[in-house]
């Protein structure tokens, strides 16, 4: 690892937090690699800070378009087998997951 890469690397704790938010198991030995890769990418995208965007409206996607609405009609559903057929685990007509304690 070069000194620059070391400088750019993200804090491991941040990687752990982001991995938790992303519901991704990251192995101990991978943490440092992600910290370095992500740090490098983040450092690189910070070139956007060169621009003054204070008066610019953010762009989400298609411009100048508005949401089309559908009528309130039941046109879908009633396809339980299609919905459940790919499930890794099911109990009767439910999806099943390890017991969730509230």
């Amino acid at each position: 690892m070069t000194d620059k890469q070391k400088d750019d690397a993200l804090d491991i704790k941040i990687v752990q937090r982001v991995a938790k938010l992303s519901a991704l198991a990251v192995k101990e030995n991978e943490l440092a690699i992600y910290a370095q890769d992500l740090g490098g990418i983040i450092h690189w995208v910070e070139q956007l800070n060169e621009l003054d965007v204070s008066t610019v409206e953010p762009m989400v996607g298609a411009e100048n378009a508005k949401l089309r609405m559908r009528e309130d009609k039941v046109t879908d559903g009633n396809c339980r087998e299609a919905v459940l057929s790919n499930a890794p685990e099911r109990i009767a007509d439910f999806y099943a997951v390890p017991k969730v304690v509230e």
Binding site: L10, V26, I41, W44, A65, S85, N86, E89, V97
Partner: protein, 493 residues
């Protein structure tokens, strides 16, 4: 071999009874059998389905009532959900996933009579520029450097589709383009591809990567073939809220349009530092061809071009981090058990996704998370607006833009692997149009000294794919790109 045909010729030949859809399909299946082990272009070959469709096509052709694509064998990127056929996104997390539905785009192709040969390889969830990130392994580019058998990448993410068309194991293919995933592999494999305007083709049933950017498009040997395929793929779909309700023009008719008086913009910012002189030369060649065809060449500026990639690598991962949250091992796909639901999620996703996908999920989660949103994501959305405005300003002065498609020819599998940012630079010329949502067409313009194809890119106004097709056809004639890759259906390995 019938695999050498263009789609336009095949459509004609089928109707003239020069050959049957069954023969055309069998020739392709034979070639796939010979070449796919090496190229790894297809993940799934649907031989039975294809032969059934070919048989039905022959019946339709015999009846005289056959829609445009009847009997045309195509390859489908394995990001399109296909009913009752495994659909993987080249990811372990979707192993054994069989969609009970057909994507709108592939349904359109089927309605028009197409034959599906199989599902093509890609970068996992379409994230990559070399087709190196597939759980099913890399795809080999059928092109070789002169006197060198190095394994070159086909580009990505639609690498399997591009390799299949180049190697003549499909007459055409579908691709998807989020930041260049149709155009860049088209350039690396010496074929033609169109990324239509955002909203032109329905996204319904296509596995999402970055929803505000993803767009399906055709990949084929010629501009005309792409026009024929786009005709079928495009159209309004009420199931996609971002689909645009706008008539689909006769794209094929645009192939013969005159270019007289057309203004072609040459954006100076695409002359990136470090661009190879070969790319610069082929770009100049393209300019000269268009001058000869009667176009007016205009130097223009897209000042925010250099920020396109950084913007893209914030916005696309952000959307992806959310789009990929549904892969949790509960309703479909791969599951790794855990002692709790949280453990099940983390194990399933930790094992089910590959490294690049995980890297982008982490990146996307980071830029959206509390404390970083404004600094990264919101800022990127604003820069995206500037990039969009660059294009709109340019289209007040010119009708179409001409640029190189990629900064280099296809690279070898073992090059630029270690640094993700270096890998991302392959998309430098394709990403800005994706950010702006404007259509793009990539076509081969010539070979470099090593004998590898180099591509040029045309970018048009929103929903003006016709001008791209018109200009692309003229350039295609001028370029007369008749080269074939080292590996294709006409050679024995």
């Amino acid at each position: 071999m019938l695999t050498e045909m263009t789609i336009a010729n095949a459509i004609e030949g089928l109707r003239q009874k020069e050959f049957s859809a069954d023969e055309l399909t069998r020739d392709h299946l034979k070639a796939i059998n010979l070449l796919n082990n090496r190229l790894n272009a297809y993940i799934t070959v649907t031989e039975k389905v294809a032969l059934g469709q070919a048989k039905a096509a022959d019946e339709k052709l015999a009846s005289g009532d056959a829609p445009m694509l009847t009997g045309v064998p195509l390859a489908i990127k394995d990001l399109f959900c296909t009913k009752d056929i495994p659909t993987t996104a080249a990811s372990r997390i979707l192993e054994n996933f069989i969609p009970p539905y057909e994507s709108t785009v592939t349904a359109n192709l089927l309605k028009d009579g197409a034959v599906f040969l199989g599902k093509t390889n890609l970068d996992e969830f379409a994230m990559g520029s070399g087709n190196l990130n597939s759980v099913f392994g890399a795809v080999e580019n059928p092109w070789k450097r002169k006197g060198d058998d190095a394994f070159l990448v086909p580009g990505g993410s639609s690498g399997g589709s591009a390799a299949a068309v180049a190697a003549r194991i499909a007459l055409g293919a579908t691709g998807t383009d989020t930041g260049g995933s149709i155009r860049q592999p088209a350039a690396y494999c010496g074929i033609t591809g169109i990324k239509p305007t955002y909203g032109r083709c329905s996204r319904w049933g296509i596995i999402a990567f970055a929803s505000s950017l993803d767009q399906a498009g055709p990949m084929a040997k010629t501009v005309e073939d792409c026009a024929i395929l786009l005709q079928s793929m495009a159209g309004f779909d009420p199931k996609d809220s971002t689909s645009v309700d706008r008539e689909v023009p006769e794209y094929r008719a645009a192939c013969n349009r005159s270019l007289k008086g057309l203004r072609v913009g040459i954006p100076k910012e695409y002359c990136a530092s470090g661009m190879s002189s070969e790319i610069e030369a082929i770009w100049q060649q393209g300019i000269d061809w268009l001058k000869e065809a009667g176009c007016e060449i205009v130097d223009i500026s897209l000042p925010h071009t250099k920020y396109g990639l950084a913007t893209y690598y914030i916005i696309a991962p952000a959307e992806a981090s959310s789009n990929l949250a549904r892969y949790d091992g509960v309703r479909y796909g791969h599951r790794v058990s855990g002692n709790s639901l949280d453990e099940l999620y983390a194990n399933t996703r930790g094992e089910g996704f590959g490294v690049e996908v995980k890297r982008r999920i982490l990146m996307g989660t980071y830029v959206l998370s509390s404390g970083y949103y404004d600094a990264y994501y919101l800022r990127a959305q604003k820069v995206r607006k500037l990039i969009y405005q660059d294009f709109m300003n340019a289209y007040e002065k010119v009708d179409v833009l001409l640029t190189p498609t990629a900064p280099s020819a296809a690279f070898a599998k073992d090059e630029h692997q270690d640094d993700p940012v270096q890998m991302y630079l392959n998309d430098i010329f394709t990403v800005p149009a994706s950010m702006a949502g404007v259509p793009g067409l990539a076509l081969p313009a010539g070979l470099n000294k090593q004998g590898l194809p180099l591509g040029l890119q045309l970018l048009g106004r929103p929903f003006d794919e016709e001008t791209l097709i018109a200009v692309g056809s003229a350039m295609e004639k001028a370029a007369n790109f008749t080269y074939k890759p080292a590996i294709h259906s006409g050679v024995s390995l």
